[in-house]
Symmetry: C2
């Protein structure tokens, strides 16, 4: 492996070879690479089709139908994922968007070898009752150091679904406390809540959007509307579902049409809030992703979100921004909703994936009135906070948000060029930072492109009905963009 790693000096000299070319030709020579990191490989390297023979030895132990291939994580580096057949792929799916600074980053390896950290891994505490001495400091160093504006509180959780479930609960508790004027619950409430009945378990609702994905536990799933396979056969709540704007791309070219579409959706949101209040199931909170990810990378304008936030305030609903997939820097800002320029912050912002720990921020006024209302055994995992602190150090030290912005622009320009050259295959290129996507003409074509690209060393993810989503790490540089575009271009050129 060492032989394929480049020194910084060699990297810089190779950089001189970097050239941008017109779509259809190669963007950059295959050997031209490296800018900053020294721990990475220089390019993809393929030995078999993927999944290769070693991946096809199915273990038959778990629910294995979704497995793409088995991985050699020891040999994976930076943006390159190595499989058990020795195939090395440029990974722009990154464990469903959850690897922040690449595989086996030296800064994270150091966390493991620091003897001061051993105890945090070996003794997992019940954080809600018996936090470690340094826990407040570790929170300040990690999640609190990147709190969105207006967010003063954070609650860590084990995963994205638990984060959203508990964020919903926080909004329900806040809403009911408001309704009863912060008085103690009535005897009737106390009695009925134990048997799942109203008023103790009130008929409150969360308004979500068609195409949304907020997780798959039963509460989250009631706000998820992206794919049938997630929802079928699982009991749900009668909660309101608003249309998410179906915009035309590039956004700059369809400003008027898109504004109309957004206005239509916002009107529907208000109608639903009124209708559900009349039904006796008032909307306690509105939950939305800054970019609908699983649902097909659907964007909306800052104006849409600002107006939605205002609607939430007007109707007394909490406003919950789900940044589980968009958070962590991939849009060029640490939180995608920072692009909106909200004057009044959201009430709740949830996270997971690239943050390595789940959790949610909230405003002071959403703090539950009593202990144990939001609680579980682990409430996160301090060992993940240690890794997150290091990730944030690397992001700051290496100005990775600027890098993401730069790489993202190059990526989006490349996707525009590709869809211009292959208009019968590709359309609707869109993105913010490196959080980019492009549509194929249908799902079969999309799937075929993805498999061919994988066999050439480019591993991408899908979303929506016919969308390819790009979810690279934050150490995804312009030369990685060129590798990506080269492979994609080769696949499209061969595509029948």
């Amino acid at each position: 492996m060492a032989s394929s790693l480049l020194t910084r000096q060699l990297a810089i000299s190779l950089q001189q070879n970097l050239r941008l070319a017109a779509p259809g030709s190669r963007y950059v020579s295959k050997t031209a690479t490296k800018t900053v990191s020294e721990f990475e490989y220089d390019a993809p390297s393929m030995k078999t089709a993927v999944p290769g023979p070693n991946s096809c030895l199915s273990p038959g132990l778990q629910n294995v139908g979704a497995i793409h291939f088995f991985c050699n994580y020891e040999e994976s580096r930076g943006n390159y994922l190595v499989d058990v057949d020795g195939n090395r792929m440029l990974d722009v799916y990154t464990q469903i968007s959850s690897i922040p600074i690449g595989y086996n980053h030296p800064a994270l390896m150091k966390v493991m070898t620091n003897p001061n950290n051993v105890s945090a891994f070996v003794n997992r505490p019940a954080l809600g009752i018996l936090p470690p001495e340094n826990f407040p400091d570790k929170l300040i160093e990690s999640v609190l150091s990147i709190a969105p504006s207006g967010m003063t509180r954070v609650q860590t959780m084990a995963c994205g679904s638990c984060s959203n479930e508990n964020a919903f609960k926080t909004m329900f508790i806040w809403y009911r406390n408001k309704e009863r004027g912060y008085a103690n619950p009535s005897e009737q409430e106390v009695g009925t809540c134990m048997i799942n009945q109203s008023p103790g378990c009130p008929d409150l609702s969360i308004l979500s959007f068609m195409g949304a994905f907020h997780g798959r536990t039963l509460g989250c799933l009631a706000t998820t509307h992206s794919k049938v396979i997630h929802k079928l056969d699982i009991p749900s709540f009668d909660w309101p579902i608003a249309p998410f704007p179906k915009l035309q791309y590039p956004l700059e070219e369809f400003v008027r049409e898109n504004a109309q579409e957004e206005a239509r959706c916002l009107e529907e949101v208000e109608d639903l809030i009124v209708k559900w209040r009349q039904k006796g199931k008032p909307v306690a909170g509105i939950v939305i992703e800054p970019i609908q990810a699983e649902g097909g990378d659907n964007h909306a304008s800052p104006d849409f979100f600002i107006k939605l936030r205002n609607i939430a305030r007007k109707h007394g609903c909490a406003f919950h921004v789900d940044e589980v997939q968009t958070g962590g820097g991939t849009t060029g800002k640490f939180w995608a909703h920072e692009h909106w320029g909200l004057d009044d912050p959201a009430d709740v912002v949830s996270f997971s994936k690239k943050l390595l720990t789940g959790g949610y921020y909230h405003r002071d006024e959403l703090q539950p009135d009593k202990p144990y209302r939001i609680f579980n055994t682990w409430m996160g995992d301090p060992s993940k906070n240690l890794f997150l602190s290091e990730v944030l150090n690397v992001i700051r030290r290496e100005n990775l948000l600027e890098e993401v912005t730069r790489s993202g622009k190059t990526l989006l320009q490349g996707l525009y060029a590709l869809q211009t050259q292959y208009p019968h295959i590709l359309s609707r290129a869109r993105g913010q930072g490196t959080f980019c996507a492009i549509d194929a003409c249908n799902d079969a074509t999309r799937d075929s492109i993805m498999i061919k690209a994988r066999n050439k060393g480019l591993f991408m993810g899908s979303c929506g009905e016919k969308t390819i989503r790009f979810r690279p790490t934050l150490v995804f540089k312009e030369y990685h963009v060129h590798q990506l575009l080269n492979i994609l271009n080769d696949v499209l050129a061969e595509h029948k």
Copy 2:
């Protein structure tokens, strides 16, 4: 710290001092300790009241109302938890029953320093799509090596709530597939599921028991009925709730009365299943804890559970045993439900806490028919499986289940003796293995005993309305039992 650790030789010589005494006098001299482990302290050691001055510097960052005190996990060892004021307590609450073999166990420290393991910590995979090469082996070494009889499949998850949520989903999917004869879903089902409506999101239910605790996410919470603080203000499902038997203890003395009570509850279960089917909300599954833990350590007989399993089969409901708190060896068997002698295994067994990873086993026939029906980003954490493998090695090597049985008998005998001596304060001592409990006369007395014991170096947990629960590690030996009984005896003797 080193000075307070004993060598094996010294430990053995000190053991000679161990003597059992009548209740009221000391059970064992304070210095008499150690049997096997060398990495532990010899006894509690208190410097301040708890919480001490260093614990009282509240950080004000999270929901801190539930915090007992801040801990020094680096200095904690085996059964002894050290706080930030240097107080060393015998810990029989163990992070809400989630520390299997004590703090900083050398075997777990070794996992951290083994360079082969670094990658598993640093690169958290999306297990459902891109498992590491060794994942099947690690599953076989860890969770599958202890699978309950009849359980062929396992699905790991991040925590106990996610485990139960996904276990419920597995039962719903299985039930609906049965109902539609394993045919493809209808167009109507496909269409309605995306908008949370029946038949796509069917009105199925899970039958649970009053006093149960199965987690706090919205699906789990609909089956949790232990405390108002968990439930109030959170919307829920109209699912059936059966009475859990209210038995008299010791069980051996009230066999006839208890059998009657259990028969009453089982009759109610069948009535509810019929009633909910008539309501159009058929019971897809029954979920139950082998011992209701959070709800107050409520036991039922093997006969009750065997009959309940038969009722589930008779009515076509899945039978889900929630072993999140009871699993992992603490009852003297690896799974508490192994004490029942079921001839037909359960359909689902969920776990977390002492297993260090969440998850659930299920029978082959509950395997979902398609990939991605049970899915999320992480689906567990392979680094936790590494620790679990080591925990299991230690359990086997040191015959810890036998030790638990032995310590548990001593503990329960001691609790019987205490309640005989203090009948106005204590009653209803009960337990299986070291999973023991005793009731105080009221909640204020229970809380007062717990605080006084803590200040003498014994840290216990509470559950139910007025119960003290004992949840020691699996390395909790007879000499630890004597320390516990001594302190408790001192507290009771002083109690007004």
